[in-house]
Symmetry: C2
Subunit: 526 residues, 2 copies
């Protein structure tokens, strides 16, 4: 058995590894045959050096350069669609169809092409011109970025193909991808596609590199290295906080997506009006992908009494009737059970499930918990433990004021939903709950489950800590996601011919949006 190579510079090289690992097929619990290396620091150092050299080589490169790469890459991915879908299915247990083939793969190439379009068009960089003072500024690339992908989206959030990768490249930065250990084969196929696209587009060596795994200490050392200027991380909170501490100490911007229970508030009128339809929506959202979405609805706040009890009963019936899906791995299964146990020891009661399921693969029973609103308020920190998977906890609140009190004590979340009567029956309650919920969540929804995350310019897939590391930025949605991996570059009295094209008097394309003397325009200066 040979160990797979790592992509350093623009070559696949034998790893100077300190160990190896294999992925596991979560549907069968069997180890997959391929071995992947744990990279040594010497190897990481080499990748960092190559990335720094690539950043130097790319100084002043146009958006067109990065757009060409991103589009070539999307094509290379499509050419490897079957291999990617097969490998990801084996490594993650996610179904080939519709999830991988019809959902996540097109989403991934779509993201890359949207990023390409934004890179070419340039308005994402907010060029700003003050003609009276001769001061001009624009967002520019910072230098090498490291992207750590999570386990739950092997394509759309993969460190070498997902949203953070697309954003960092569109901004003009080289990327070192740290693949997730649960799907190294999928990541390898992407890297092969990326390397071919990079060469075809004439990118410098070191523009895209791949490391499968490092020691924890080397991971922290890597993000704190002086050649790194940005980090994207999606994954477990504990690991993320270790990386955040290292990056923060080095003064390097790090964007993390750590955890979220995505509270859903059900107002009385909505349940009276359409409780059954809402139960359908909830069960579909919560069990989709075996609940392994960052935006899975993990806490449902309902009114005490009949309406809330009826919804829970209806959800229970649907959860009982649904199969228990395969989880992404043994760790996810164990963490889910541990999360449920923590919630129970904090005062929640199991309504359904709560344990590992008897199955060939790593599965847990579809799970529902319940807790009283007073009990939640008394022990709110522990009762916000995330049980990542196919489960949710109902909180029975004593009226809108208690719902608002619950909202006030929430940690930062990616999303928060409020379901209300289609007419104005719930408007008074909404006006009590929504203001309390607003600054606890990045995205506030009405009458809609949170699991769909549209790739939209107006999206916020982000939120206050600990959902993410900074509440001002989104990980999904172009152009916003691109701005994370940039710096504000100001030009003061710099001569016209030395300015980047986006800041010269003449609009370089005639369609670039710029803020000139306080007004947005596509016109030239003056």
């Amino acid at each position: 058995m040979t160990v797979h190579k790592v992509l350093i510079g623009d070559e696949w090289i034998e790893s100077d590894s300190t160990g190896t690992f294999q992925a596991t097929n979560p549907a069968t619990r069997e180890s997959l045959p391929d071995e992947y290396p744990v990279s040594s620091w010497a190897e990481i150092d080499r990748a960092l050096g190559a990335a720094a050299a690539a950043a130097r080589a790319l100084r002043g490169a146009s958006g067109e350069t990065f757009a060409n790469f991103l589009e070539a890459y999307a094509k290379q991915i499509e050419a490897r669609a079957d291999a990617l879908i097969g490998m990801a299915n084996a490594e993650t247990g996610l179904p080939r169809e519709p999830r991988l083939a019809n959902g996540e793969l097109p989403r991934t190439t779509n993201q890359l092409r949207q990023a390409a379009a934004a890179a070419r068009e340039g308005s994402w960089a907010l060029p700003t011109i003050d003609s009276a003072t001769g001061i001009r500024s624009v967002l520019e690339p910072t230098g090498p970025v490291i992207v750590f992908g999570p386990n739950n989206f092997p394509f759309a959030f993969n460190g070498i193909s997902g949203g953070d990768f697309a954003a960092a490249v569109a901004a003009g930065n080289p990327v070192i991808a740290k693949g997730h250990s649960s799907h190294p084969g999928t990541t390898r196929i992407f890297a092969e596609a990326a390397l071919e696209a990079s060469k075809a587009a004439g990118m410098p060596a070191g523009f895209v590199q791949l490391i499968y795994r490092t020691s924890h200490a080397d991971g922290a050392k890597m993000v704190a290295d002086h050649r790194v200027f940005g980090v994207g991380y999606t994954g477990a909170r504990r690991t993320g906080l270790v990386l955040k501490e290292a990056a923060d100490k080095a003064g390097t911007p790090i964007y993390l997506e750590l955890s979220s229970v995505n509270p859903v508030f059900m107002l009385e009128g909505a349940l009276t009006e359409r409780g059954d339809a809402i139960a359908d929506e909830f069960a579909g959202s919560c069990l989709m992908g075996t609940g392994q979405f960052c935006t899975n609805p993990g806490v449902v706040v309902v009114p005490k009494g009949e309406a809330g009890e009826t919804l829970l009963a209806a959800a229970k019936a649907r959860f009982e009737a649904a199969a228990s899906g395969v989880m992404l791995g043994e760790g996810v299964q164990k963490n889910f059970v541990a999360g449920v146990e923590e919630l129970v020891s904090a005062g929640a009661e199991v309504v359904l499930g709560g344990a590992a399921a008897e199955a060939d693969g790593f599965c847990c029973q579809n799970t529902l918990l319940r807790v009283d609103g007073d009990a939640f308020l008394e022990n709110s920190e522990a009762l916000q433990t995330e049980a990542f998977g196919n489960g949710s906890m109902f909180v029975f609140a004593d009226g809108p004021e208690q719902m608002a009190a619950i909202a006030e004590c929430l940690e930062g979340n990616l999303t928060g939903c409020i379901y209300s009567h289609t007419a104005d029956d719930d408007d008074a309650a909404y006006d009590i709950v929504a203001p309390a919920l607003r600054n606890r969540v990045g995205r506030l929804l009405n009458d809609k489950m949170p699991t769909g995350v549209a790739v939209s310019a107006a999206m916020n897939h982000g939120g206050p800590f600990p959902a993410t590391g900074h509440p001002g930025f989104t990980a999904v949605g172009i152009p916003g996601s691109i701005r994370r991996f940039t710096m504000l570059s100001c030009y003061d009295n710099v001569r016209e011919h030395r300015l980047p094209a986006s800041l010269r008097d003449k609009n370089p394309t005639g369609s670039l949006w710029r803020s000139i003397d306080g007004a947005f325009t596509q016109a030239d200066v003056g």
Copy 2:
């Protein structure tokens, strides 16, 4: 002698102090009579509670609300101009005219009024509408912000009146100001003005509060408190890094301005063409305000040989002829001498000055150092020690390539300047140096000293770490500075009447700039 009160809630209350302190007149070295308290944690806790209550009371408040306060405050400041100028002169040694009366005070009220105009107009918040998906987003206030002001701008960067204060308020947040210990009396007068404006504008209690001093431990505890959602800090690097660590751990955005040596690169042609004029510019910039600007030119990179030597000689003559100004305090004086000593022990040679000056006040000799480019490259970290005050170090570089190498090894800085021949004589050298300098500095200047920081929408008073804590944001310049104290609030499928006015179909003013379906416009949706 009574101890001055602190402003908590909307009352001046006797401090539950753990000690007191007095300011010193740096021009006479005499203690000023007034005593100010070191606040206890109980008092800080009370301020945090009041700020949180103010934030709740302000939910959904319009930009007009904050604009009215800011404008009322600017008027209240003008009504107290004489008192402020007199007190600041006594506490900082900065001259009444032109600095305080004609420079800094009008700059301060101008900033407050610009912030008011931006708050009222609203485009700073980047409202973004995706009409196809029903997703809309806008930047919104986060909640209470703490602002720590520095010693060197008692008005324009004061925690209760400066740029960070104006930005945090324009964004819609309550502010707890931590005054700088060197000018408590100035800060107190501002707080009196702010309280009167706050009451006149109908702001809730706790909207603006003032604490003069805390223990180091309580300062860190305060920024990490769960009721704090943003921090602005300008000041010494060591203290700033302690606060940064505390805020980072709590996941609270903190914006810091820590230190900068503001390198200036002099290309050969510029010196040959207009060396004398450049020496005038340099000496004026470096000695202005006794060199106590964040953007003071602390490192000047010149070509080895006659042109560089001539500039240094010309600068020396001007430095010798100029009086040694009064520094802001004994600490600044001591730190300057210590900084010079560190540079000397790292290999620099004193050309002029380098020691404390004989004077009534806290003064240092106008100082010039020199070091060879090779020596700088060998020991670049120590040779970037900031000696904050009326001095600068010349680095003699062996051609443009070595200048670029020097630029490459610079820490992050606020500014970097390149002087070149007015025709194209230096263009080849510029093209070698500028790309290396670009991502090491927030603001790149041509043929201009860095000390002027215009309040412009295109300004970047910021830069890569350790100049600041995040390279994407500016501390000076509206609207950019406002965006630091906000979160991205997304509305997904939220009903029209529940949206903030800036996101409804109808443009609320007809002049608000919004990004609708990828184009900036002042039109309505649809």
